[in-house]
Amino acid sequence: MAWMNMKQRRFRTSLTTLGVVIGVTAIIGLASLGEGFRVIIRNEMEQGFELNVLTVMSGGLLTGVGSYFTDEDVKNISQMPGVTLATSIIQKSVGKLYNNSKNSTALVLLGVNYTEFVQIYPERLAVEHGIWPQSIKNDTSVIGYNVEHPTEGDIFANSGENVTVSMSFTSPLTGRYFQNYTFNLVGSLSKSGAAGFINFDDTILIPIDTARKLYNTTNSDMIFVQLANPSYSESVAQAISDRFGGEGEVRVLVPAAFAEQVETILSMVQIFLSAIASIALLVAGLGIMNIMTVSVLERTREIGILKAIGAKSRTVLTMFLAEAALIGLLGGVIGVPLGYGLAQAMGQFLFRVSAQVTPRRSIITGTETHPITAVTPILSLQWAVGAILFAVGISVIFGWYPARKAARLNPVEALRYE
């Protein structure tokens, strides 16, 4: 019966339904786009963020003063439960690099244990030219993508060539000064991006023993700690912090915790966006209320007839609510695929930005990581069903008042209504 009434007022019903469609489309569009975006960020974090790698740095005031961690510290950390590898890092600032007439700039010099270092970042590190060092000499070096290409398309040095590095030192007497050292280049890295505080693209890597000799230390500036899996993050971070006398002495960078925060923020954004979209649906609800109030007025006499021949108030109420629910259902069922389609289109257009062109190939696993060119919206069954139920719910709630008005009509007065 509700369906019949709606068919009779096709144009009006279409407009009312359109309101619901727009609301549901907005909700589903934003929600599925948000969900797709969230999954991409989560994947990016897992792949590109090494959630299982902790960075240990000397904390607070001690930063930069001197190398803090002993080999004993590193050994101890590597034996903590959940830790698969701990490797020492010397981190210094550098300046210009020279290769004959060419020059380039590196921001960071890292003294690393090549064998361990590549194991920490199996997915991230990939060689563009040359090789990853196997037999390591004192002057074996690797440079990052930006160092190798001071300007896009330009090559600073080929593998096998010697490069001169203007290294920065700090002396209590003379302050900061630079001294040149020459290294043999064996390879350069593909675009690797940043992990923690360090952007690998702007680094030059040298053997840690050489770095220690040059900077006159037996300690390390940082420790990279690889965990069996990210769930050990908290316990290991706590154990490390305890070993160095509590918080403040050392700082442990926990990417998993950061990732969790980002995910929380993204969920909040997603819910927030959907809430805004829900306003559209509320407006649609008002439209339903308006149309139904008019409809009840128009059909007063009809309602009177129905009641006179024996329709209960409940029957009349159900009839009108069914009409509202049907509008909501129809709007929801149309709106969900429409919203998903909209999200698809928006995902294609909006996120085709800043895409990395070449895929990265890992040194150890050989797997390729492809850059993101579009967000694939994700529509979960819960969201789809939820949005439809929400649309039906809103319609019924807003239809309630006019429906009750219809149900409560006095049959005699309704029959007299012109």
């Binding site: 019966m1 019949m4 009809e302 129905l306 024996g310 329709a311 209960k312 049959p411």
Partner: protein
Amino acid sequence: MPVILEAREIEKTYRMGKVLVLALKKVTLEVEQGEFVAIFGPSGSGKSTLLHVLGGLDRPEKGEVCIDGINLSTLNDARLAEVRLRKIGFVFQFFNLLPRLTALRNVELPLTLADVSEKESMQKATDMLELVGLKNRVNHKPTELSGGEQQRVAIARALINDPKILLADEPTGNLDTTTGWEIVRLLKRLNEEKGQTFVVVTHDQSVAETADRMIYLKDGVIQSMKENRGSVHP
């Protein structure tokens, strides 16, 4: 014959602006099964109000109405609607058909409300339309029917649930004389052939005189009751 309808000391007031008007004053009457009763009186005499009260469309301030042994004053609105659905049929002056439904659908309506199956209600409604002489107008909408035809559809609708009593409010009031008499003849035929009990409200004395019994109502008070021979005017 058993009493189908019984009204005792009905009082009903009306609010006209600020003034309360007593529309019915201590109205008492009985209708037996198979009777054809006319309630007759000038306009404003309270006869429509009485019919509404008798049919459970309206509630009196005082007094009781019993239909088929059920005291209507003891029922809540939902139960009252149930009684209207199953025990009472209504025919109105302005036909009161649903304009968007076909004659058949209009007649089926009470069956739909009574949860009768689609198939059964269609069969019953078709038979009923045949009984009132509208076999060929089944799929016409009210706007495609003449006044007399519309009233026949309304009568078919009123009869579809086999009511104990059929209440008609000025059934000829909106029809020309010839058509009006056709309707009266139809009602009389249904009364004689099916034993259907009727209470017809009319201001037309000649229509009233066709009834078995004529109740004259004026100013909300029954003035007289008169038995007739019950023949239809030629």
